[in-house]
């Protein structure tokens, strides 16, 4: 009996769950969500690692040796998690979306192969040197290895986003018939691979990764400083993270605004979903939006939301200066992405972005005032804020990816057409369950490793771990019993 007949005759709810398309989309969405956490950890940590390694080798200052060793360990664990979660993804194009691979192979295969050959090898080879080679290579080579690991991480994002940018705004190809199938044939490499979308996505994504990691470094540093005030090393790390946030957080807002305008020009449907803008008309800008009732969560239309809006400023922003500009609404389209997911994700991302600017300015002011490590309130806030960079990064990614549905290649191939015709719902559901279970395990383990590293660091610093006022926030509580 084939797996598909195994489940026939079960109730309709199950059948819906077992649809290969839905299960494949859920699986891809879930695996990329976890993978992206680790991938962006590598991207964001790279500058920190390079800086700490360079300072360590140059100054022989114990402070930097300590920071280097701590964060290189985090990097290594993150890199392994990134590798093991990334390999299944590189196969999912074939296992779950073979039609997409067959149609777009000529366009996406090259950049993906470059990612492996140019970026991934560089990162993996020189991470081996960075982790195990301190005594075996010269100082200069050692610092260079940290740089090459960083270059690898940043290049990796570059090649992946070339593929993604092409899927968002495909160019430089023509559809040709091949053995009864319409496939994309590369006609203009520079148009296809140097698409205008690429720089927008790249800057936004790299900066988001740096912000997320700066918040993580700030949170871990703040926690250790809060436990053990006198630690010079972690005061340095906290200050460095705040400085990086002061540069990157405002930059993200400015860039994000311009990026949104580009999206409006190239993917008006996605832009309309971001603003839940249904009628083609002048658009208001909703600064804040709250659902009136539960239905409004699923269907965020102006009439069922409580909004604080700037009238017609949406038009102004979308058009780059015209308050009366018409903004295309969702009603123009036959099929739309899940608007609620895109609308609320966008709001969470933007809201968090402004919060990060506030945190950066607050930290900057405290640094200027010389009170950064003395302010309990700031330290605790930063500990609480440490996972929020990742929340912003993920919601931003949802806006990008869910916002372009129903297309996998915008305007060319629907996601529903990309799914494997031979895949059974049972296979897809089984693997979905497997991925959810295993990846939850990986994320939890990664968090535990971070907790153990922090605990060891505190022990080394001689901090009293059993103080009564221990932190009870989002980080697992550090105690001496394990």
């Amino acid at each position: 009996m084939s797996p598909s007949t195994l489940f026939s005759g079960v109730d309709p709810g199950w059948v819906a769950l077992l649809s290969p398309e839905l299960a494949s989309r859920a699986q891809f969405g879930w695996t990329i969500s976890v993978h992206i956490l680790f991938a962006s950890l590598s991207i964001g940590l790279a500058p920190f690692i390079i800086y700490f390694t360079w300072k360590d080798v140059r100054t022989d200052d114990e402070r930097f040796a300590r920071l280097r060793s701590f964060w290189v360990t985090v990097f290594a664990v993150g890199f392994v998690m990134g590798t093991v979660t990334g390999i299944p993804m590189s196969f999912q194009f074939g296992t779950n979306f073979p039609q997409f691979s067959a149609v777009a192979g000529e366009l996406i295969g090259g950049p993906l192969a470059f990612e492996a050959k140019m970026a991934f090898f560089l990162e993996a080879v020189f991470l081996g040197v960075l982790l195990y080679g301190r005594e075996r290579v010269r100082d200069r080579t050692y610092v260079l290895s940290s740089v090459l690991v960083g270059v690898g991480a940043w290049l990796s994002g570059f090649w992946i986003l070339i593929v993604n940018a092409w899927m968002q705004t495909p160019r430089g190809y023509e559809m040709v018939a091949r053995d009864g199938m319409e496939v994309a044939r590369l006609t203009d490499p520079s148009a296809a691979f140097l698409s205008p979308r690429m720089p927008w996505m790249y800057v936004h994504m790299i900066n988001a990764s740096v912000i997320a990691v700066a918040l993580l470094v700030a949170g871990v540093s703040a926690y250790i400083v809060w436990k053990s005030r006198e630690t010079e090393a972690w005061n340095t790390a906290l200050k460095l993270a705040v400085v990086i946030l002061l540069v990157t957080a405002p930059m993200q807002a400015v860039h994000g605004d311009a990026y949104a305008r580009h999206v409006q020009d190239t993917q008006p449907q996605k832009f309309a979903a971001m603003e839940a803008h249904y009628e083609t008309d002048e658009a208001d800008l909703h600064l804040l939006a709250f659902p009136r009732d539960v239905d409004a969560l699923n269907d965020p239309r102006a009439e069922n939301l409580v909004t604080v809006s700037l009238p017609r400023v949406g038009s102004f922003l979308a058009s780059g200066g015209d308050f009366d500009a018409e903004v295309i609404g969702l009603n123009e389209y036959e099929e739309n992405p899940p608007v609620a997911l895109v609308f609320w994700s966008f709001r969470v991302m933007v809201g968090l972005g402004f919060l990060f600017i506030a945190l950066a300015l607050w930290g900057g002011y405290l640094t200027y005032d010389g009170r950064l490590s003395d302010s309990d309130r700031y330290l605790k806030t930063m500990v609480a804020a440490s996972p929020l960079g990742y929340a912003a990064l993920l919601t931003g990614w949802y806006v990008t990816e869910i916002g372009r549905q129903p297309w996998v290649i915008q305007g060319e191939l629907r996601t529903s057409e990309a799914v494997s015709p031979t895949l059974t719902g049972a296979e897809a559901t089984l693997s979905l369950i497997g991925f959810v279970g295993v990846y939850v395990g990986l994320v939890v383990t990664a968090l535990y490793v971070l907790k153990w590293l922090v605990r060891d660091e505190l022990r080394t610093l001689g901090a009293d771990e059993s103080v009564d006022d221990s932190w009870r926030g989002p980080l697992p509580e550090v105690s001496g019993d394990d």
Binding site: T73, V77, F79, V80, T83, V84, T85, G86, I87, P88, S90, F91, F93, G94, T95, N96, P98, S101, A102, A104, G105, E106, G109, G110, L112, A113, F114, A116, K117, M118, F120, F121, A124, V125, L127, G128, V129, L131, Y132, G133, E135, R136, V137, R185, L186, T187, D188, P189, S190, S420, T422, L423, L430, S431, G434, V438, T445, V449, W452, L453
Partner: protein, 333 residues
């Protein structure tokens, strides 16, 4: 930019599709050779009882396994870049097998990495299970996948299962040789026993595999297997295997390693013979029919081949840095 420099309607050289077929098999073969000994180390790890020996094993493969594993991604993406229809069919048609394999790889990867993060017996034991289990399952499933591909055979068929067994055995053989070449004499001579047994198992398995392929004539394999090039590959494998055993017994471990690594390399050559010109036997798709259009292939050739040379240089460098003996403390100063 590039389009004016590159021919749009003709391949840079007329045999470019065949060259890319060779490059894809080369990436696959390199993966099987390099990660093969990693899997072997993982399986042999189960035979160690002392912490010192276990840590020696982990130190031996620590700096290199991650980079070795990237060859798998290189293979997958090169296959996608040059032969997208083969890539999509291969992975879509073997859905659960591919997932079993990637999960095995996942457990193999995180086990040793997480082990050292916590000083707790039970934790270490679970990480060890993950490492050993993943290391044993990955080559088995990958072999079954390769067997299904080359022989157009069912998962639970003799050719597919025997390919899995062969790949597992050859991994143990190369893992033992790699470790023997790097460790103290006592440990090395102990590993030699496993290496010799695995080599013999591999040779017997290969002969049985080819006999079963001829008997079932899966995907027209009989003709290829009985051809002169395939016979030469098999003869070379037997020579390398038996020669390796002699070298191992004489304690010439580095030479043994060289002949052991030749076995998975020759196995990849055999796979290439089986898959040419019909690169995907289940659909009868040939290399020429499956390859991407000239402009796309010319582009990845011009940009990609220099990078591939650079990658080979990285590997030479990496293995140079971490050459020489290893113990529980790592590669020493």
């Amino acid at each position: 930019m590039t389009e004016s420099l590159l021919p749009v309607d003709a391949y840079l050289v007329s045999s470019l599709p065949e060259i890319w077929f060779g490059a894809v098999v080369f990436a696959l073969g390199t993966y099987v050779v390099l990660d093969g000994f990693d899997f072997g180390i993982g399986m042999l790890y189960a035979t160690r009882t002392t912490e010192h020996e276990r840590e020696t094993f982990l130190s031996a493969f620590g700096p290199v396994w991650d980079a070795n594993e990237v060859w798998l991604i290189a293979f997958g993406t090169m296959l996608l870049a040059a032969f997208p229809r083969v890539y999509s069919s291969l992975f879509a048609d073997h859905y659960l097998l591919v997932f079993g394999f990637v999960f095995a790889l996942l457990f193999r990867g995180v086990g040793p990495e997480l082990r050292e993060q916590r000083d707790d017996e039970r934790w270490k034991r679970y990480c060890d299970y993950s490492f050993v289990g993943g290391s044993a399952l990955a080559p088995l499933l990958f072999g079954v996948l390769a067997g299904r591909w080359a022989f157009d055979a069912a998962t639970l068929s003799l050719p597919a299962l025997l390919t899995g067994v062969c790949l597992t055995a050859v991994s143990v053989a190369t893992g033992a040789a790699f470790l023997a070449a790097k460790s103290e004499p006592d440990l090395a001579s102990d590993l030699r026993r496993y290496g010799v047994a695995a080599t013999l198992a591999y040779l017997v398995g290969t002969v049985a595999l080819l006999a079963s392929a001829v008997a079932t004539d899966a995907a027209g394999a009989a003709e290829t297997v009985l051809s002169l090039p395939a016979a030469a590959v098999v003869a070379l494998s037997i020579a390398a295997g038996l020669g390796g055993i002699v070298l191992a017994r004489r304690g010439r471990y580095r030479a043994w390693l060289a002949s052991a690594l030749a076995l998975p390399a020759l196995l990849s050559v055999l796979l290439a013979l089986l898959l040419y010109p019909t690169i995907y036997p289940p659909t009868g798709l040939t290399v020429r029919a499956a390859v991407v259009s000239p402009l796309a292939l010319n582009l990845v050739t011009v940009l990609g081949f220099p990078v591939l040379l650079l990658v080979l240089w990285y590997f030479k460098y990496l293995y140079g840095v971490f050459s020489g003996p290893v113990d529980a403390e790592g590669y020493g100063g």
